[in-house]
Symmetry: C2
Subunit: 533 residues, 2 copies
């Protein structure tokens, strides 16, 4: 019996009932069979490796990283089932499933085992970068292997002095006579930068050519494979693994590029732009990780609460399981509310992404608006929900053997990587609101007033216009100071609206309405520093 | 250079300016010298052992626990300085300092090294239990040693099936011909149940005599020393150490009592009542731990933010340290606000405790009201603030070597032990509000309206009366369901009122008022499920 059961029916209800997902080849029953198949692998194979992976971690010896016991075999099973190919272009061996379905499937990998799930997540970024910006030759060479999962991809961005600020990157790329580049420098925090699960690793690396313009305008993107075509090893080595708070089974590598052979993607000095097209979808995926790990924690807490007998019923005076205590019900209900609002928002982004991919420009704008909101709010939510779950376990929650503490530790990376949540808030306020003159946001907010009180939508609209006003007065620091509050309020209201719609389709309703009782009042509170009380 | 500088001036300002603390022998300068002396030991001796202690942990071998390197020597220094005796009765070697000052001093031990600070914290509980309920002989025998710190005390409550619900305790105590008791059973989660820092350990143990009434009415409290007077070892052994999320250097022991000799405290079957008198002050101390570890995390984040260069100024376009970015300022300001509100509330409880100890009954009621609020709100705050501090570190925060992740892990125990925060909320709603007919609470809320808007106080008063109404209608589950929300709102409003007073004495005010801009609106949001919008 696995302790993880992916919430297939909730996903289907969100997609088909709440979000109006439609697809010529995929009706609800077809989607259900696909999701149930994925759920089997997630719960039977990946979930049991989560806690053992945490304890074993991954090991570095002589530049080679050995992943935790069982990971290699599970990865093979995952690839053989065709799961790695789910959202990709059939031209390169992909299954071409819509993002809406791919997100549901990916939630399962992340919920079952986030350390494992990071490998395909990064790989997906590499596939997108090469698909969008690579040459035909590069596509033919790398995509089939990456799509099948025989090779995996990485993102090499961060350097010790360049985290959120990629303009400070110092890694060098010197052009050679044969048109290739010689890459030198050190990269840190490289997820699955080295491991033993795939035959080759395709590093996407940001570096600077000798005559490049300064700062962000002089960064280029390169493909640096671990093994060359002739099987020789390229000059890129893992020289260290980080000792981290969580995701112990995911190797976080320090990578040394010592004159490694690299292949330019697209044009020189366009690297940051390319990297961002790939990072945007990764940001949605990280939000999805938040939903996933929160769901896992919720399921564990619920199971524990239903078996732990402690304290008495007010009504009967008999001892009861703690799930029957009103305060524990509140905790379980709070978790469920936050998770479902987060999942709804993430799947709304996924459904919209499918529309955007098929050329709908308004949809593209909407995905861009939702991306920082999903990333930031769902990852903060993951920290909060895993903490509540741990609390349900009481003293046992603080003991590592119950496994809930691991989820609490693992979740804490989510507000940090793929752009910290502070960066997301700035992205929302400046790029997605101010730069867009509030158009996409105001239209979106307007659309919410069908399901939630007009006053809440009005508050958010006023706050949006206030940001635009401040921008016109060049009060940029003032916008930055409230950007996190604005994002949080946006997420609470948008999530609340979706949740209100979802509730219409659910039979068991909570004792008090979480939308008007919890989400919206806190959203109003978040907006006070912007628009007053 | 230590990375921990106890906030002596903030403590003095709170005590003497905000809370009107007065003492015939201790003026502000005297208090300052005492606090500065304590601060030296905290920052120079205890703080450097915090991270090394986390890495080394404590070790169990053949029933003996060895604490982390340096702990034993630091404990000797701490006792030799007379610090263990600070709040205790001079009749038994105590220094007789008021709780107001003792709390400030104790914040420093906990901020410097929470794993270390737990040993004196538990010892203090034992001193109080024996002082209040022990026989004269027991007082003469144990108190001088416990007050000096030569011996340490423990609290043995929890059993695998009896956590929050102590009525389920099964440990047995059989009376012997000589008037002593033979104690048998297993206790879990016993902090410093075994260690090498003191000559003897005095266990206070809850157990049940053979003919005792069922449930909570049949529990008695016993003294079970590790070593008997003649130096022989008593039959109590540490048989396991827990592998925990945090506080690694604090040994959390499973204790086996195998016919150990025990001495009854007070009368049979009164054990739970005795234990609660001692646990109440321990609850305030746990709240204080929350303030302490949050302060430590804040200082670390602030120092990092002032040296980490990343991103550019909107104004100059130059690269700046992250402390100058508006969103990081928001994070630092949020931390400071929450910590100072928490410290103010905790010290208000301490000042009131001094009045209560000298016989003021209204003060006693007020301390009882404030205890669950302080415990719960300051410990939730600690989790939140250590998380924000970690976020300020970005990717480096997730790496264990920076030490901030340790504070995040350590803090997570605080909402759990000494009564989970759910138990605190129930204690507030039922024992402190309903049972008191709201008198103490409503008078206290009324007193807040000098400093914060009357409408906020009015909301809290209406919520209080709503709880009383529901109680009169026997809607106990309904009260329990909102008790955590009620507690949180109470803490935000009471903390906000104290903070508003504190701000009057501070020169550097934050850009927007945190009380009206953040604390009060969220308090209003918390009250919505009780009183509507």
């Amino acid at each position: 019996m696995s302790d993880y059961n992916p919430p297939v029916e909730n996903m289907l209800c969100l997609l088909y009932d709440v979000l109006g997902f439609e697809h010529p080849d995929i009706d609800r029953d077809t989607a259900r069979s696909v999701l149930e198949e994925a759920a089997k692998l997630a719960s039977a194979v990946l979930a049991p490796l989560n806690h053992t992976g945490d304890k074993a971690g991954s090991k570095l010896e002589n530049g080679a990283v050995t992943t935790a016991p069982g990971f290699k075999e599970a990865y093979r099973q995952y690839c053989e089932g065709g799961w790695n190919a789910v959202p990709f272009d059939p031209e390169y061996g992909g299954q071409g499933l819509p993002w809406a379905l791919a997100f549901c499937i990916q939630e399962m990998w992340q919920g079952a085992n986030m350390s494992f799930g990071l490998c395909p997540l990064l790989n997906q970024g590499a596939v997108e970068a090469i698909s969008l910006h690579g040459s035909d030759e590069q596509k033919q060479k790398y995509l089939p292997k990456l799509v099948a999962g025989e090779w995996t991809g990485t993102m090499n961005l961060t350097e010790p002095q360049a985290g959120s600020d990629l303009g400070l990157i110092r890694s060098k790329a010197e052009k050679q006579a044969d048109g290739t580049y010689m890459i030198s420098g050190q990269k840190i925090f490289i997820t699955y930068g080295e491991h033993d699960m795939a035959d080759n690793i395709v590093h996407l690396v940001l570096a600077r050519t000798p005559d490049a313009p300064e700062d962000v305008k002089g960064i280029s993107l390169f493909i640096v494979p671990k093994f060359m075509d002739d099987g020789t090893r390229n000059a890129v080595t893992c020289i260290g693994l980080e000792h981290k708070l969580g995701i112990h089974a995911s190797p976080t590598c320090t990578m040394e590029f010592d004159g490694a052979k690299g292949f330019l993607i697209g044009q020189e000095n366009m690297g940051l732009k390319y990297m961002f097209t790939m990072m945007n979808n990764a940001r949605l995926s990280v939000g999805l990780q938040g939903v996933a790990i929160a769901e896992r924690a919720y399921q564990k807490a619920q199971a524990y609460a239903q078996e732990r007998v402690q304290g008495k019923s007010f009504r009967t005076g008999e001892r009861i399981v703690i799930a029957e205590h009103a305060d524990v019900k509140r905790m379980l209900g709070t978790m469920k509310t936050k998770i479902e609002a987060g999942r709804a928002l993430t799947l709304e982004a996924a459904v919209t992404l499918d529309q955007a991919v098929s050329g709908d420009e308004a949809a593209q704008k909407k995905v861009e608006l939702l991306t920082p909101i999903v990333k930031s709010s769902c990852t903060d939510m993951a920290c909060e929900v895993t903490s509540i779950a741990l609390q349900v376990f009481g003293g046992m929650g603080f003991i590592e053997e119950t496994g809930i503490a691991q989820l609490y530790r693992d979740a804490r990376i989510l507000p940090i990587y793929e752009g910290t949540n502070g960066i997301q808030a700035a992205d929302l306020a400046f790029r997605k609101i101010v730069h867009d003159e509030g158009k996409t946001a105001l239209a979106y907010i307007e659309s919410l007033s069908d399901t939630i009180p007009k006053e809440d939508c009005a508050r958010l609209a006023v706050a949006t216009k206030t940001l635009l006003l401040w921008a016109s007065e060049k009060q940029m620091d003032r916008i930055a100071a409230v950007s996190a509050n604005y994002l949080r309020a946006f997420a609470l209201i948008a999530g609340g609206a979706l949740l209100a719609r979802l509730r219409g389709f659910q039979e068991n309703k909570p004792p008090f309405d979480p939308v008007s009782g919890a989400l919206l009042p806190h959203a109003a509170a978040c907006l006070v520093p912007i628009i007053g009380r």
